[in-house]
């Protein structure tokens, strides 16, 4: 039997909701019936990707405006994990940022590198009045 999951959630544009969304990602990883990899690692990675992508949407795209909203969808269909984070901003294309210089001690710039390291594909495009960061990964 196919194990298809889709979660759709909207939260205010505030970092206080990062933990809630990260936890939902972790719980999905722990609940998957047929996952053959390291489940706790997948849980951490889902929490991390959701946290990093939401932080970019909240801080950069939505410019910390508490009146805006972040829309997140998490789906697993035919072993492909797809995470989409929709913002309501002018656009902050994380896919064009350079890989951080690991010799330097920069305080910022690691979030996108982390997303790219974990997910197979990362793409940022226009959507309605904002943008969407789409990330996919084929699960073992």
């Amino acid at each position: 039997m196919a194990e298809n999951i889709e979660v759709d959630i909207k939260v205010p544009n505030q970092t206080r909701y990062l933990g809630l969304i990260g936890k939902i990602g972790e719980d999905i990883a722990r609940t998957l019936k047929r996952y053959r990899g390291d489940r706790e690692e997948l849980a951490y990675h889902m929490n991390l990707v959701l946290t990093e992508a939401m932080t970019n949407a909240i801080r950069h795209a939505n410019e910390d405006d508490p009146a805006r909203e972040v829309h997140i969808t998490i789906s697993i269909v035919d072993r492909t994990l797809s995470i989409k984070v929709y913002d309501q901003g002018q656009g902050f294309d994380v896919t064009t940022l350079p890989t951080p210089d690991f010799r330097g001690l920069n305080e910022h710039g690691r979030g996108v590198y982390i997303i790219r390291s974990i997910m197979d594909t990362v793409c940022y495009r226009r959507h309605n009045k904002g943008h969407v960061l789409e990330m996919t990964k084929v699960l073992p």
Binding site: R16, L18, G19, L48, F102
Partner: protein, 111 residues
């Protein structure tokens, strides 16, 4: 953010009593460390034993503390990393930057 801060000789031990160190609360840790630097306390040990999750902002706050301590001829060291947290330091190569100890006792003795 809940922090337990205590002086142990020349070292200030900060225990982070939170499950997450992330974009929501890492600014507070950074501000707390800046306060210590202003008071001339430049040797800091951060105990992460209660922290289950760190994101890039959390790492950024630790890098900020490390840079400030080093610039003042002090040091910032870490201890008590849970395995998943440790793997974050490896992913971002920061395990080569920080001195990381299993527990607070060994870390305190190293200053």
């Amino acid at each position: 953010m809940i922090l337990k801060i205590e002086e142990q000789g020349q070292v200030v031990l900060i225990e982070i009593k939170e499950e997450r160190l992330d974009a929501h609360n890492s600014g507070e840790l950074k501000a707390e460390m800046l306060k210590l630097f202003d008071e001339g306390k430049n040797n800091i040990l951060i105990d992460l034993k209660d922290v289950r999750f760190v994101d890039s902002s959390g790492l950024g706050s630790l890098v900020s503390g490390f840079k400030n301590a080093s610039a003042r001829n002090g040091n910032l060291k870490l201890c008590g990393l849970q395995p998943q947290v440790k793997s974050m330091f490896e992913l971002t190569r920061l395990h080569r930057v920080f001195e990381i100890f299993p527990g607070a006792e060994e870390a305190l003795a190293s200053f």
